[in-house]
């Protein structure tokens, strides 16, 4: 407070002046004629009446006027607790507001007020300090970072955009958001550009580089009260398997759910079972249900922590489709292995937790494929039209098929083919290559593909060029031909291996990559069949789907389409009922483990606000105070008029 401010505020001491004036105003009563005055006994007014203020409302108004006058004299030196833009030379400003709508922003910053609510309030304050000509862009930092409002000078639109924003359970993508924001404002004509970050900076990487240091546009990390480490635990998933509900818990650094109960409830809120959470940052426990008829709806972590939204997860049941159909020539294989075909033995050895059901021939009816997650065909001699129809319906509906091509496939009888997996005939030719090219391996095959470098195989299946081009190779032969490949068919996938699993044809089945192949394929099949569980904020794609409708925790969701593929982004944790081309499926959005870490990232010194002249600024409220003073004067005039009328009557 400066000397002038003190002097101005000292004017407020003059508030005693109206009191003294009112005391002095209590002059002797006006003399008035009254003929029978001699009949009236003189009575001195009581002391209490003498000391009483005659018009309290008038006195209060005058006192308030004096105080308002003092504040008016002190402004704009009065500091108000609100964000505002400081501008150099009065020039227009281009501002990008990065508003964090991740799940960590659900933590309470004060009683009943979340970090997100405070951040949104800060955004409103910033917009209130903007002037005509200022450009504003808004970027949301919940993963994936996205533009909520492109740069515009329409401040009304910006306010509407801020008002429409809601909390979400997404992860945090602060760096991406700042990059987006920088891109939005860097091309604007305003010379004075800045990025204002309204976030708790809890993106799960507390040790990462300080925020706001590398941006070309000055960054102001505002609202330090949003930051602060807090304890939080979450229910990551809850799956029902028979009478058990397996619940996975995760906690942020330094916090534990030990001692807290996990309660499984029905949709009506009735408790069906509970268990105590064990020690540890991550834990998995099982809650036993009372009967098969119990219908658990959600698993809830009792007790409170920083974020309550992630303490509940929907309980989803495992799919009834839990078997793999294996079509292999057991007679040939039995000679080599002395038992079941090698592929069956490999699947059993992997303990993939699914039933392996050898079937003599591929089913001819779609209904017969209903119990299967996927179908594995080892060197099939083509498929009859009925089998092809059943396979097509199975794959189109999301099923997964693995076809190992061998000599039988190349000598398919007349009328038999492998459509819709392959559109053309397959040849069984001598291979010019001695093995796989490890460098061509994708995903989970990167390590195991080395085991395929030197295969003992004289022949391999040769695909028609049209079929080869339609496939996505996962492992290639050294000559570039696909060894393991896949292609999307409808909502399902078909995996192709150009070698049969028979040890008579090659030693492919004896290499570690063979197990990797089976493991990846079974896992993919399970993921497709089981309720899809993905991280909240991650995009769900529906390739091949024509119509997709979804119902989530926040109601009906809108889908988008990119490159002809329908996309859906779940913003909240919970279960989503998706209807894809008339077929219902259940998907679950699970919280991001990174959001449980509420430790904030460090802030670059230049982003603290001081360096770029932006901070909690002094706000000129002279206009408002002057209006208040004007109103008080009007009230005083009204009171005096009323007082005169009262006296007149």
């Amino acid at each position: 407070m400066t000397f002038l401010t003190g002097i101005a505020l000292a004017v407020a001491l003059l508030v005693v002046a109206p009191y003294l004036a009112h005391r002095l105003r209590r002059k002797r009563a006006d003399e008035q004629p009254f003929p029978p005055a001699r009949l009236v006994e003189p009575a001195p007014p009581k002391a209490r009446r003498r000391s009483r203020l005659e018009d309290r409302a008038l006195f209060a108004t005058r006192s308030a006027s004096v105080v308002a006058l003092a504040v008016l004299g002190a402004t704009p030196l009065v500091r108000c607790s609100r964000l505002s833009l400081q501008r150099s030379g009065g020039a227009s400003v281009a501002m990008a507001i990065v508003l964090d709508d991740s799940m960590s922003m659900r933590a309470q910053v004060s009683r009943g007020k979340s970090r997100f609510a405070r951040a949104r309030e800060g955004a409103r304050e910033l917009l209130a300090s903007a002037r005509d000509g200022d450009a504003v862009a808004i970027v949301l930092a919940g993963a994936p970072a996205r533009v909520a409002l492109a740069a515009t000078t329409d401040l009304g639109a910006a306010r509407s955009a801020v008002d429409a924003m809601a909390e979400s359970d997404r992860a945090t993508a602060l760096d991406d958001a700042i990059v987006l924001a920088r891109g939005l404002v860097s091309s604007l004509p305003q010379v004075d550009r800045r990025i204002v970050v309204l976030s708790d900076l809890a993106d799960g990487h507390p040790d990462a580089a300080p925020l706001g240091d590398s941006s070309g546009v000055p960054v102001w990390i505002a609202l330090p009260e949003l930051r602060g480490a807090m304890a939080d635990c979450a229910v990551m998933r809850a799956d029902r398997s028979g009478l058990r509900v397996r619940v996975a818990l995760a906690c942020g650094p330094g916090s534990t759910a030990a001692g807290r109960a996990v309660v499984v409830e029905s949709a009506e809120g009735k408790e069906l079972g509970r268990a105590q959470a064990p020690q540890g940052a991550t834990a998995e426990l099982a809650v036993v249900l009372p009967s098969d008829e119990a219908r658990p709806a959600r698993a809830r972590l009792a007790g409170g922590d920083a974020i309550s939204a992630d303490d509940v997860a929907p309980v989803v049941g495992e799919t009834p489709r839990s078997a793999i159909a294996v079509v292999a020539d057991s007679t040939d294989e039995a000679v080599a292995t002395g038992g079941a075909p090698i592929v069956e033995q490999a699947l059993s050895a992997l303990k993939v937790d699914v039933d392996i059901r050898p079937i003599p021939a591929f089913p001819e009816r779609t209904e017969e494929l209903a119990p299967y997650l996927g179908a594995l065909l080892d060197d099939p001699p083509g498929l009859t039209p009925e089998q092809r129809h059943a396979l097509g319906a199975f794959v189109e509906g999301g099923g997964l098929v693995l076809v190992a091509l061998g000599p039988h496939a190349a000598s398919a009888p007349l009328g038999a083919s492998l459509e819709p997996v392959l559109g053309h005939a397959v040849g069984w030719l001598e291979t010019p290559s001695g093995g796989a090219d490890p460098a061509s391996a994708l995903g989970g095959f990167a390590e195991s593909a080395r085991s395929l470098a030197n295969l003992d195989a004289s022949r391999r299946a040769a695909l028609a060029p049209e079929d080869a081009s339609a496939l996505e190779p996962m492992v290639k032969w050294t000559d570039g031909a696909p060894m393991i490949a896949r292609r999307a068919v409808g909502r399902g996938e078909a995996w192709i291996v150009t070698l049969p699993f028979s040890v008579g044809a090659s030693d492919f089945a004896l290499r570690p990559a063979f197990l990797s192949l089976l493991d990846a394929w079974v896992r993919s099949a399970r993921e497709r069949a089981a309720p899809r569980r993905g991280e909240v904020g991650a995009t769900w794609r529906f390739p091949g789907a024509r119509t997709v409708a979804a119902e989530g925790p926040s109601g009906t969701m809108t889908t988008s389409r990119e490159d002809g593929v329908v996309r859906l982004v779940p913003p909240l944790v919970g279960e989503y009922r998706v209807r894809v081309d008339g077929k219902d499926e259940l998907r679950v959005a699970a919280p991001s483990a990174r959001e449980l870490d509420l430790r904030p990232r460090s802030v670059a010194p230049s982003a603290a606000g001081e360096g770029i002249g932006e901070r909690r600024a002094s706000v000129d409220v002279s206009g408002q105070v002057a209006l208040l003073l004007l109103g008080l004067v009007s009230v005083e005039l009204g009171l005096r008029l009323r007082s005169r009328r009262v006296e007149a009557t």
Partner: protein, 303 residues
């Protein structure tokens, strides 16, 4: 109470009671035409009832039987058809110039309207009318007893010319002059109507005025008060100045309201008792009352 702060002007504050002539005619026409009968009780042929004896009554009409039976002096009355003079006495002292906030006009203006209406009624019945003022300015000239249409104009002119003034507390002869005039002009059977606020008159004024009712005269005392005087609507600390007697009182109105109203009731009661004891009539009105009702009440009291 801002109107109460207005200085008492030299002329009458007529307010809503002006113009006097038209107002008086309207009031008179509003009164039942046959209300005034020139019937007086006294020597005559038709028995008119009994009443208490008052000093000055003709002892010939003393009812001896009643005296013997009830040990009370009772006189017999007889009705006779004759003209009856109406003597109007209007208090025009300074206190009658008062007009409160709720009043349509000053007290003297109200009294003038009532007096003029009574004069018109009496003159319409062929009875002579005279007018005298209690106090008032120098030009408050009394009107001698006379009849006819011109007399009404003379009464109106006198009432319009009077200016409230005079202090009965200081001018002790003010009342005497009127009483002497009345004793000369009001003969037996005359009707005397006194219109006054009765506030600042001397302490013996009640008895002296009540004595007018002797010698066969009919006396009606009309107390005219302003609503402010009747209700005492002040609040808080007030400083009150009497218009006669120079009394100034500062008081807490809320605390002394009941005391004042009691004192006023006592004053009015004193007058009422004194007047009624003489066989006269007493009417108390305020200037907010309907003049027609007041005149009708006076006429009824005279019958």
């Amino acid at each position: 109470m801002r109107d109460a702060l207005r200085p008492i002007r030299g002329a009458i504050d007529w307010g809503e009671l002006a113009p006097l002539r038209l107002r008086a005619r309207a009031v008179a026409e509003g009164v039942y035409a046959g209300a005034h009968r020139s019937a007086r009780r006294g020597a005559g042929v038709e028995f008119g009832g009994y009443r208490e004896y008052v000093p000055g009554d003709d002892l010939r009409w003393l009812d001896r039987r009643s005296l013997l039976r009830h040990e009370r002096l009772i006189v017999r009355q007889f009705e006779t058809e004759t003209d009856r003079a109406v003597c109007l006495v209007v208090d025009a002292s300074a206190s009658m110039g008062f007009r409160g906030a709720k009043a349509p006009g000053a007290k003297v203006a109200f009294a003038a309207v009532v007096a003029a209406a009574l004069a018109r009624i009496a003159l319409g019945s062929g009875d002579p009318v005279s007018l005298a003022f209690l106090g008032g300015s120098q030009n408050a000239a009394p009107v001698a007893r006379s009849g006819g249409r011109e007399q009404f104009e003379r009464v109106i002119a006198a009432l319009e010319a009077v200016v409230p003034g005079g202090d009965a507390q200081v001018d002790v002869g003010m009342l005497d002059r009127v009483l002497q005039q009345l004793s000369r002009t009001a003969r037996r059977g005359a009707i005397v109507v006194v219109l006054s606020d009765l506030i600042d008159l001397p302490t013996d004024a009640a008895l002296r005025i009540a004595d007018i009712a002797s010698h066969g005269r009919v006396l009606v005392v009309v107390q005219v008060l302003d609503p402010t005087e009747a209700e005492f609507p002040f609040s808080g600390t007030v400083r009150l100045r009497a218009l006669e007697g120079h009394a100034v009182v500062e008081t807490d109105a809320d605390a002394t309201r009941d005391q004042y109203l009691g004192a006023l009731a006592t004053l009015t009661g004193t007058w009422r008792d004194a007047v009624l004891r003489r066989g006269a009539r007493f009417v108390s009105v305020t200037t907010a009352d309907d003049p027609v009702r007041v005149v009708r009440e006076i006429v009824e009291a005279v019958r």
